[in-house]
Symmetry: C2
Subunit: 345 residues, 2 copies
DNA sequence: CTGAAAGCGCTTACAG
DNA sequence: CTGAAAGCGCTTACAG
């Protein structure tokens, strides 16, 4: 048992000496294209590394090689199942390529995306994936675009998941079309008066869903009163509060569309708390098809998005060489009708 | 507009030259203890850095400084709300200390924790937090312990969230006590025959909860038939399958305890699919109090764990200097009775 | 307060 | 196939 000072690390040089070879050979034996070092030396190096419990300094390797194995993922909140599912997909895919993913959360302060991209550039991350919704803010988009360009200029790759507002590869979510399809199905069920819990008005994702829904509903001859559109947080509590607000205002809607599932669940809770029975007293629909929420009762009608795949696809994009034109992969949601929106009789 | 070769980066030396100072001064002006460089030089450096859009190479800094700002978080699956909530807490806390968190998922293969800790040692991460349950596997614990010691020896800090099986700081979850308390409350409601959806038998977390529940229930005079204990996955689908299995076996239990909330929700779905009405036909209880699941109906009785705080606390631990004795912070769950377990009349 | 220089731990042309 | 040496981009004693 040899004592070792805490904090002292075994270096490649130690390994080389122990194996009686040069630094270069030790390096090649451990990480180089194997076929170029004599088998016996190779073995000695491996044995020495093992005996010394050597662990290569990834920072030093990164610097010498000029690249890292880091890919950054920027989300609003990993605690939100929408993002944690995307993250799971990205991480799963990353691991197959021996990449490490770093997660940053803006917690709703979208301007922090700027800082995070900058930090990732400083880390010399291989790539960054920005998963949150773009916001309605020209100046902010402008600045983020500049930051993204800097990142790319230093050799990194960038992909977005949401809207195509910045010149970069992006997995475009067809929120508007999805919401439209949902509205049509709901009208098909007999509904003619809807309310919309629209979420944060500056978030494009919320906005697109709300707009799409209203377009299609109106076109199908349904009515949506201005007072039946309630804005608020894009969260469970936001959905709850918005539903309460709607009830307080008074509404004759027979179906309420919350722009995402967690809001829809919040709305259901509010309805229950106010003694409205579900789904007979009010039909409810959401968007996303969050897995953890598949078992709420009544089962929630929604627009399914392949969340885990979104993470995988974004990672795949970012692993490809940049194309002349930024790539776009469009993803259409699929309407899933369930118990929360029964046929109106 | 100056053309710049893609991949080429502005270095500190470029900044120093542009500002007409030495490398050392540039470094100090940018990151050193500010007070030691003449204001006018400082300003020139800052201006130059800005003009060149300089971004310090974090890898190089880390190497020169001998430490990084990375803390690794190892979980089973970020897609699971239990872990994503813990992760959110850890990330939030890390950001306050300008630390970056890296997330690794074992996806149920606990032996991968070994690889991840090793990788984190290679990254020279400042610390690692292991959040998943320990497993019943002496050899594995032994090896992980060795890996942890190596990590600490190279100057890193380690904390666990779950059971205290390894010599390191840990946030200990009092699963057994929590499950006991739950069983007592349930008996207080009049139940005398229970079933337990016990999850993976090798996961200590699942085991402790199941054991604690059975102990207290039995002590209180309740009965749990061997056939009423069903093992399976520690997941939603595991809960669903276990409940179906239980129903197929036939049971006269009036209340079923699933060792975590997602399993409980799966069980509820199974009950519904089999036409059992809730909660009158079968009472259901879970464990964790997952926020996203707070709105299921009937509202789920459970044992609340301060999940987000667990992440915060673990991060705090890992930021402290190592103590002579590893620190232990015990966390007791709090029973929350809700609609899913009405009083038995 | 400032600068020249050594050093952090690797990788990789470049000779041999 | 192997090794000596330069270089990756910083930080930080050490002189001045």
């Amino acid at each position: 048992m040899t004592e070792r000072v805490s904090g002292a690390s075994v270096t490649l040089l130690d390994v080389a000496r122990a194996a009686g070879v040069s630094l270069a050979t030790a390096s090649r034996a451990l990480n180089g294209s194997t076929r170029k070092v004599r088998p016996d030396l190779q073995e000695r190096v491996l044995a020495a590394a093992d005996a010394l419990h050597y662990s290569a300094n990834a920072q030093a390797q990164a610097m010498a090689r000029g690249r890292t194995d880091i890919v950054g993922l920027i989300v609003s909140d990993v605690g939100d199942p929408y993002f944690s599912t995307i993250a799971a997909g990205a991480i799963r895919a990353a691991e197959q390529h021996r990449l490490v993913v770093t997660i940053a959360c803006t917690f709703g302060r979208e301007d922090r995306e700027l800082d995070y991209v900058a930090a990732l550039r400083s880390q010399r991350a291989r790539a960054v994936i920005v998963a949150g919704s773009r916001v309605q803010d020209k100046a902010l988009i402008e600045r983020l675009g500049a930051e993204v360009r800097s990142f790319e200029q230093s050799g990194g790759r960038v992909a977005f998941i949401s809207q195509r507002r910045i010149e970069a590869d992006t997995v475009v979510l067809e929120n508007r079309a999805g919401a439209r399809a949902l509205a049509e199905e709901l009208c098909g069920l007999g509904h003619r008066r809807f309310a919309v819990l629209a979420g944060r008005p500056d978030l494009l994702t919320a906005r697109d869903r709300s707009t799409g829904f209203r377009e299609a509903a109106t076109r199908a001859g349904a009515r949506i009163e201005p007072s039946d559109i309630v804005h608020g947080g894009f969260t469970r509590d936001g959905g709850y509060a918005a539903m309460i607000e709607l009830l307080d205002r008074g509404t004759d809607a027979t179906c309420v569309f919350a722009v995402n599932d967690v809001m829809a669940v919040g709305a259901m809770a509010a309805l229950r708390d106010r003694g409205v029975s579900l789904p007979s007293g009010m039909a409810v629909a959401g968007f996303d098809d969050i897995i953890t929420l598949r078992d709420v009762s009544p089962a929630l009608t929604t627009v399914r998005l392949p969340l885990e795949e979104l993470g995988v696809w974004a990672l795949d994009m970012v692993l490809q060489e940049p194309a002349d034109q930024p790539r776009v992969r469009r993803v259409r949601g699929e309407v899933v009708l369930r118990e929360s929106t029964p046929k109106l009789t």
